[in-house]
Structures are given as C-alpha cells and as structure tokens.
C-alpha cells in the first residue's frame, strides 16, 4: 500500500491525545486512591486536556485531507453497524467531548464537590472517557485488522500495537508536560511511559516476526484461476498509470524499507528511553521533551512502514506495463 500522510498523521496524533488523556486520568485515580501525591497545580488537568484536545483536533483535521469529498464527511457516521471506520467517526468526537468536559470540570473546580463520598463528577466523566479512549483504539486498529486479505494487518496485534503505541507516546508527552507544570508526578508518568514503550516493543516485535513469516494466500494462480506453476503477466492492460498502480504500490526499494524499519525501531524504543533516563537522572527536563519528539518522529516512520508493508492481493493484477 502507498502510505497516505493524512492517515499517518491521524493515527499517530490521536494516539498521543488518547495516551495523554489516559495518563491524566490515571494520575487522578492514583491520587484519589492515595497511591501517589497528586498534582497540586490548578492548571495541570485543564491545560493537559487542552493539549490532548489539540492533538486530537489536529489529527481529526488531518483525516479530512484523506477524503475526496470532505464536505460530506458527516455522512460517515451512518454505517456504524458494519463499518469500523464509521464507528471511529462516532467515537472520536464523543471522546473529544469527554476530554473537553473532563478538563472543563477540573477548571471549574468540580473535584471539590463530591457526588458520593470519594467520587466527583470529573472522576465519572473521566471513566467514560477512558472507555471511549479504549474504544477509539479498538476502532482505529480494527479499520485495518478487519481486512482479512491484507494479511499483514489481519491480526489482533494490529489493535494491540495501536493501543500500546498511542499510550506510550501519550505517556511520554505527559512526562515532558509534567516536568514543566508539575514536577512531582514526573517519575510516575515516566514509569508508565517506560512500561508501555517496552510493551510496544514486544507487540511490534511480534508483528514484525509474524509478518516476515507470512505466506500470501492469493497467488497469480488463484487470481486468474489457471492452475499452472509458471504464469507471468505480459500486460496489465494499459500503458500509463491508474488508481490501482498508484494507491497500492509504494514504489520504494527493499533497502529503503529495511532502513525505515531500523529507523523506527531505534527512534521509538531505545533512544527515547535513553533520553528519558538521562533527563530524569540528570535533572534536565528539556531532554524529556526531546524524548517525546524523537519517539513521535519514530512513530511517523513506524506508521509509514505499517502501511507500506501491507501487500494488497490486487497487486497481482498490476505487474507489467506493455
């Protein structure tokens, strides 16, 4: 497949927004239970939600560039019974509203007014937000995982990796954000960020190993229904390009693919972790921001690779111009 920049931006940016919101809510829950000394700055939650919303909104905006007819985008909510894309279109704005309400609640001081002992309105809204956050990861991942003949994507690992990558990058941002606004919770977020980054390494490693061993189920024999071991295309039927030759081929060499793979494996996992450790131990908060930026850049490469690696069976029909 040819990776579309709009979809790469959408999936990575909303992942960061989701992860950041999940980080904020986790901090509040842990604080309420009494496991950590929670943030005291009044702007911590509202500003954090504003940043998460900004990532989600830019991601949503990027997705419009993928559409041929963006003015009709509202129609995409119609087929939620069958289409994961439609479900994502519904869950994303619902999640964004929850993040907005959650941040607004903190800004208006709702946590001081308990509904029942120990529980305030933001805790309830946040819980709903976490559910929607998880559903959004599920929808985003299932858009790709449900296409069974794109064998590289048709695995639960796709959904798991979307969840792990989004959470890891969001937690990385939360760490950098906390270093500026609320240094008391930096180590709490950093621990989560390290955990999710390592989990993502396991998940992505598993999918890389799986995909390297895939055997395509469709062959030229099944594509044209001729049972002969040697079939070559002598003409795809037209001499110029077409949608089929543009959309489904990335036209990059295998050396490029390999270098992108190693680039993202380095930029998403070891480098941000090293920067995180250096920033925490050396007491340089700027390094935490760099760690997030490097990991995000690595995620862009990871997403590019994710799309490019998928080998569409339609490519069997478009092999030779003559």
């Amino acid at each position: 497949m040819r990776p579309a920049p709009s979809v790469i931006l959408l999936t990575t940016l909303i992942g960061v927004g989701q992860g950041l919101f999940a980080a904020l809510y986790t901090a509040q829950v842990f604080d309420r239970i009494g496991l950590i000394q929670g943030p005291t700055s009044p702007v911590f939650y509202p500003l954090g939600c504003a940043i998460a919303l900004a990532f989600l909104a830019v991601g949503l905006g990027a997705s419009f560039f993928h559409l041929g007819r963006p003015e009709r985008a509202w129609r995409a909510a119609a087929m939620w019974r069958t289409s994961w894309l439609s479900r994502e279109v519904i869950v994303l704005p619902a999640f964004m509203s929850c993040v907005f309400l959650y941040g607004m609640g903190h800004y208006l001081g709702w946590p001081q007014h308990r509904i029942v002992p120990g529980v305030d309105a933001t805790l309830v809204i946040g819980a709903l937000g976490i559910v929607l956050c998880a559903l959004l990861f599920l929808c985003t991942g299932m858009i790709y995982a449900c296409l069974k003949f794109l064998q590289e994507w048709h695995t639960p690992l796709t959904v798991i990796n979307y969840l792990l990558f989004g959470s890891a990058s969001g937690l990385m941002l939360a760490t950098a954000y906390a270093a500026i606004v609320e240094p008391g919770v930096v180590r709490f977020f950093a621990a989560w960020a390290v955990g999710f980054t390592l989990a993502a390494l396991v998940g992505r490693g598993a999918s890389l190993v799986r995909n390297a061993r895939l055997k395509p189920r469709s062959t030229l024999q099944t594509a044209i229904g001729v049972k002969h071991p040697r079939i070559v295309q002598s003409s795809q039927g037209f001499m110029g390009g077409s949608f089929n030759t543009r959309e489904f081929f990335h036209d990059m060499s295998s050396a490029w693919m390999r270098s992108v793979k190693w680039m993202f494996l380095l930029a998403v996992f070891p480098i941000p972790l090293a920067l995180l450790a250096a920033g925490l131990l050396g007491g340089v908060p700027a390094l935490l921001a760099v760690a997030f930026l490097v990991q995000y850049a690595g995620l862009l490469a990871e997403r590019w690779f994710f799309f490019a690696q998928a080998n569409h069976p339609q490519n069997l029909y478009y092999q030779r111009i003559s």
Partner: protein
C-alpha cells in the same frame, strides 16, 4: 433471488479491448457523469476505467499459452467492499445483486478499494468519488432500448461472444448452463467473497482424428482392392490406360 453477472469465456477472448473501450464510451456518457482522463494523448496518460483486459503468459516457451483476461467488478455475493463503507454509499442491490456506488453519498475515503481484493474499484480523480462497474444498470432495464440490446455495453461490443450476461441464480439461464457445462470458476475463492462473475476455463483445442474416420473399414469401393492387381502390360478396358 436474481443475481445478474457476467460469464467470461477465456477460450474465445482474443484480447481486442473492445469491451474496455465500449465500457468507457457508455459510462463516460451516462447520466452519472463522466469518467475523467488526464493526459489522454500525453506522456503519462491515466484515467478511470471500469473494465480492463490483461494478458498473461502461462507455461514455459515453447509450450506457452497466452491468456487474455478481462477484469471488471465481479459483483460478489458477499462483497467485502460494502460493509466497510462508512456512509452506505457502497451497496449491493437486493433485487438483482448488482454492487453499486451512490456517487452522491460517497466521501471518497477509498476504504472500499482497500477492501476489494480484486482491484476493480477506481477513484475518479476529478469527481473525487469511488467508481466501479455498474453492470450497465442504466442499459439493462432501459425499456426504450430493444430487448436484444438490454445488455451491458461490454457484452454488446464483444466480437467473439466471450462475454455472456444473465442471472446466475436461475438454473435455466444461459449463463448458469455455461457455468455448469464448462466448469465455470470464481476468482480468488480463498477469501469467501463468492464473486458472481464467473470465468470459463481454457480447454485444450485438439482435433481427434482416428484412422477409421479417414477410411471406412467396410468401404465397398475397396472391395476391388482385394482382387489381384492386373499386370502393367495386361490389356485394359480402353487399350490405352493402364491400372
């Protein structure tokens, strides 16, 4: 239930592309709007087509067969492109099984093209919506056309009658009989899409000639042959010719 479909006979397709041009001509002139082209006469021509004829070489030289292979939307009975559409623009008609795109609802997200293993959907780069073979739904029900012409444009154009059109759910229809009699098959059966369009396989064209077809064993004319052949010098009937 009706399932309209094409049956394509690979034995007689000569790869002339008449179906491709006829399809383009009909569908670019229809009420649904044009099928755009870019640089049609330039260096890198590109355009929207619903139908393609591809060519494959099967076997190793000198024992090769050239297979011309027309490919358009197969109107799957379980179309993977339909449930993924977020707007409902991509749908399968209940009454005749034709898979269509509602151009007024399509947002051009291309998800359906990703979900089609056959690569038969093409986005129109200027109308910004997904387009595909309609099985000439605007021809096959058109009462103003004579009944013999209520067929897809590609079927009308085919000079060798390699394209048959009809209801594959009706066991008495010509297409059903063609599938049954010739072992018609579907493309990429491994994905469970159950394409409605079928292909009739190549079979080896061989003329079997037996000795007795050329010469009858009981040919009465050969009875003479059993008589001893007269010598060259022996007198003949007219005294001129010899046996």
């Amino acid at each position: 239930m009706t399932q309209l479909a094409l049956v394509i006979d690979l034995n007689v397709c000569v790869g002339c592309h008449a179906c491709v041009t006829s399809c383009k001509e009909w569908n670019t002139s229809g009420a649904a709007g044009y099928l755009s082209d870019d640089n049609p006469y330039g260096k890198d021509p590109t355009g929207t087509f619903f139908n393609r004829v591809q060519t494959f070489e099967v076997g190793e030289y000198p024992n090769t067969q050239t297979v011309h292979f027309p490919k358009s939307c197969l109107h799957c009975e379980d179309p993977p492109c339909v449930p993924v559409c977020p707007t409902g623009a991509s749908y399968k008609r209940k009454e005749d099984g034709i898979v269509l795109v509602d151009y007024d609802k399509c947002i051009g997200c291309k998800y359906c093209a990703w979900a089609c293993p056959y690569g038969v959907r093409e986005i129109d780069e200027h109308q910004h919506v997904m387009t595909k073979c309609t099985l000439c739904v605007d021809r096959v029900y058109d009462q103003t056309l004579p009944e013999s012409e209520r067929k897809p444009a590609c079927v009308m154009a085919c000079p060798t009658n390699a394209r048959l059109f009809g209801d594959i759910h009706d066991p008495e229809s010509g297409v059903s009989k063609a599938i049954q009699d010739n072992g018609g098959y579907q493309l990429m059966p491994e994905w469970g899409t159950h394409p409605a369009n079928h292909y009739l396989p190549r079979h080896k064209q061989e003329i079997k000639v037996r000795e007795e077809d050329l010469e009858r064993v009981d040919n009465p004319l050969k009875v003479d042959g059993r008589l001893p052949k007269p010598a060259l010098k022996s007198p003949s009937l007219d005294d001129v010719t010899s046996w």
